[in-house]
Symmetry: C2
Subunit: 562 residues, 2 copies
């Protein structure tokens, strides 16, 4: 039982120092014999600015390589992609640990295993308030809490050396409309038992006050939908089943037929029905019936609230959705948050609709969205109940962690630790605090391949995006004499300009030819030397005439005499 007597450590591999890609480890025992549990294993998303062409961003699990025999369990707080989405992509590196989750979350994960051909998921379905031994000296209790997805849970993680409360994503909603209201009694009881550490959601830590209840939206949504003169399309996150139900119910109450467009939404509703979370979703009208229904009786629930290019809403805006068409006088409701970084794409959609005479109403204009994350006064409530010795802010960029750490002290935490990804924090003992820093990072899912964020692949693509590419093919003989004219192809470069004497590729070809012809035999002895001569010549041309140092690639083929 040595390992079970501590130390107890916390280590974020993702989600602390960024929003998204949540992945946290708790370890028990001395370093060489430490038993681990992982809480959540989520993805982030690439964007044009930092990771163009990248589908998903995954936490780097290199640290686990040497530890995975001692990874006892994965425990999932809820089914959002930034908490569970990385599992199918990293499953081969996790050593097949059991996955503990409540039924809705488990069903989402089971389907991911199916879709990715990973066989049967080793799921352990947990009921609220059971104390489940998950191995390695840890037991876990799922504490139902409110958020923007069914069956979200905080975790009470008990160990022989003390208890951690890990909030997961949460808010305190007295009327969530789906599932029970936030129940604070278990948090109070834990506070009375004594809690070592509180690992707590920081998403809304900069916002004062409380985050509000789903219930507040019902009347507004019904009023806004009733006032719309023609068809209405509403978008929100596919997994916000409570919101989907509220929207659909408001539509039915105002005499509209509900059509669900977007696979992710249909799937989430299905999972919620299958797992008994959802028992009373209004009747959905099949997409092929749309043409039979007058526009002012139509209501669409659609995916794509973040402006995602391939989601239903963007395709509707582009006039490319197979079944849903919006026309002048129709209305689009964004019953959703604009995730920072997505503004441009979302506003682009707004303008597309505006150009078509479709009115857009968002949460800035009408109260048709509430956040799923606790704001300052909600957080204070949790701190005052749980009374942790150590506060460990998580789920946030660095600035969120720092602000949360500061406020946690005000709210009564004994101490607070800013612990971004890779910071190993000791939670128990006389001297809790940062113990060491381990290497962490990001892995990109690029096409079907995992690429390290530091491998240079993406850096090279960003350079291509800014500078374009010049390809030069040369054929030389044994002594480096050109056997044919240089061949040049420029990509992402202007072909011609009124101020130039010839097109860019011709100017480059001439310059390369001159450089090779003018070089001494010694200067062109090796392919590498010829490449270098040609690269420099090509770059001089792009710098001079285009004002850019293009990415120049030269391929030299040397033909031997027969």
């Amino acid at each position: 039982m040595t390992s079970e007597n501590g130390p107890l450590v916390y280590l974020a591999l993702g989600g602390a120092g960024e929003i998204g890609m949540n992945c946290y480890l708790y370890g028990l025992g001395v370093a060489r014999d430490r038993r681990w549990i992982m809480v959540d294993c989520g993805i982030g998303f690439g964007d044009m600015e930092t990771a163009p062409g990248v589908e998903l961003v995954l936490p780097d699990l290199d640290f686990l390589e040497g530890e995975r025999d001692r990874l006892e369990a994965i425990v999932l707080t809820h089914a959002h992609e930034d908490h569970v989405g990385a599992i199918p992509h990293l499953w081969d590196r996790l050593g097949n640990p059991p996955i503990f989750a409540r039924p809705f979350t488990a069903e989402v994960v089971r389907r991911k295993f199916d879709e990715n051909g990973l066989g049967e998921a080793p799921l352990r379905i947990c009921a609220p308030h059971d104390r489940v031994r998950v191995g390695g000296g840890f037991s876990v209790e799922f504490l139902p809490i409110t958020h923007s997805i069914p069956e979200a849970s905080s975790l009470a993680i008990r160990t022989p050396v003390g208890t951690v409360v890990h909030t997961g994503d949460f808010k305190l909603d007295p009327e969530p409309l789906l599932g029970p209201p936030a129940d604070l009694a278990p948090f109070r009881a834990l506070g009375q038992e004594g809690v070592l550490a509180l690992a707590c959601d920081s998403t809304n830590v900069f916002l004062p006050g409380r985050s509000g209840s789903e219930m507040e939206l019902v009347a507004n949504l019904e009023r806004v939908i009733a006032a719309a003169p023609r068809a209405v399309a509403a978008t929100t996150f596919a997994s916000n089943v409570s919101r989907l139900r509220t929207l659909a119910q408001a539509a039915v109450n105002t005499g509209r037929s509900v059509v669900v467009a977007g696979r992710a939404m249909r799937r989430m509703i299905e999972v919620a029905v299958e797992t008994g979370v959802l028992t009373d979703f209004p009747t959905v009208t099949p997409e092929d019936r749309i043409d039979d229904i007058p526009a002012d009786n139509l209501f669409y629930l659609v995916t794509g609230s973040q402006g995602e290019g391939r989601a239903a809403l963007a395709r509707i805006a582009a006039g490319q959705h197979p079944t849903v068409k919006l026309r002048e006088g129709d209305t689009v409701l964004f019953s959703s948050k604009t995730i920072p970084g997505n503004e441009s794409g979302i506003y682009r959609l707004y303008n597309r609709f505006s150009e078509q005479g479709v009115r857009v109403i968002d949460a800035d204009q009408e109260r048709i969205h509430v956040s799923g994350h606790a704001r300052q006064e909600d957080l204070r409530v949790i701190y005052e109940l749980v009374k942790p010795k150590v506060a460990v802010p998580m789920h946030g960029e660095h600035r969120h962690l720092v602000e949360h750490a500061r406020l946690a002290r005000e709210w009564g935490a004994g101490m607070s630790v800013v612990a971004p990804n890779g910071t190993l924090v000791r939670l128990d003992g006389n001297d809790p605090g940062i113990e060491e820093h381990v290497e962490t990072g990001r892995v990109y899912l690029d096409g079907s391949v995992r690429v390290g964020a530091l491998d240079g692949v993406i850096r090279e693509r960003l350079k291509l995006a800014r500078e374009g590419a010049v390809f030069v093919a040369l054929v030389v003989d044994e002594v480096g004499e050109l056997l044919a004219d240089p061949q040049v192809k420029c990509l992402g470069a202007p072909e011609d300009d009124e101020a130039w004497k010839a097109p860019l590729d011709e100017m480059i070809a001439t310059a390369v030819d001159d450089a090779i012809e003018g070089a001494s035999p010694k200067q062109k002895r090796t392919e590498a030397a010829i490449e270098e001569l040609a690269t420099r010549a090509a770059r001089r041309v792009t710098s001079k005439f285009w004002g850019k140092r293009a990415v120049v690639t030269v391929l030299v083929t040397r033909l031997e005499e027969e």
Copy 2:
């Protein structure tokens, strides 16, 4: 005088249907003999998502090609880059018209001519309230108004067929601290004379209430700066000279030395002093004196409030600024707006500072910024004074124009027209409204070359960013037989993967070799046919192993027998 009897038309070449790149034309006379004046000629900015590597975005002036002999004047409302920045880049296409502006704006433009080697600018310096004949039947009166730069002006554009009020960027500030308060009397007088059309700023049309006064910031800034324990760096737009003075004065009042870091800011202060706009800027401490001053007596004014990579603030955050270093306990004030689309870059800066223990305070946390643009109640005031027959919303994305057009009717405009770039609107006569649509667009300044937004150059670079590039060089003989192994180089692609049998370039080389060797002589008769065979083979490999269709370029060199 036929041309001077109308019709009078409005045509935006930029700025209507987008924020930035403002460029508006007013024309008088029948189409074949129409005399034009241009109001403003500004730039927009490229971003990674839509125009990677592009320095500036310019309005497309193709429409002016056949008209430039009849372009009588350029009139400038104020010196912001999105109103004057395109002049040096498009000057060669404008036919050398005189430029009318007030002294501060004129001096900014004069310096642009100098820096770009364009010779002497044909500037006509105007005093407020003079009615200046600018040619073609137009006279222009500059109406001083408040904004976030010195000497901003609305224009009263008088013609024989009626008067247009063109607001430019504006707000109604009773205490702007620099320059006179907003004076509404001329607008009232114009309303009484009768106004055909109001072309009006839409930037803040979604925001209720009034935009507030510079005066409201003074006490807050002083309090926040006084409370900072160590050095403070404050950022705002370089051209917001009033704010620079307020910031500097607050620093001096709290016992700090003011250092200005950032060329653009020093230049704007210089221009303001030279033109007599600014008479009492606090003494500035040279950068080389920084080391002599204790941190808690230091105050830096720095450029880069939008997170621009090469501006002072980003370089300070990266520890790469030559003179300004910030350390744990220092404070950064963002006395500025976050322009939509810039959120990611700005938050990246926040986090960089946060990681260094530098506290960031922005306008979400303290009231340390007010907008330079009129909000709904300010706009209403202008409409109620000017009483235009026709409202033509400008300075806004499509959604802004639509909302503004709707509100303009509520505020008493006789009619309102949504006229995005390229919409030619007749303003006078019995039947004002949209007359026709002309081709407009954007031109990118890419390196030193102007590239049309639709030329495909940028589209190709975006594709390279997402998909990477594969370059194949082949050498063949007369009958298409390979004379050497295919040479392959992949850019922005993973080199290897544990699941692959060989590195990507080798797999491609083998596949290309097989494809060419396996083809019949007929199939490889031309270079184009060989290129096609190789491209398909390479793409099959990237699709299968990488999951992407890379951009494949094949260069074929055919050697003839001697």
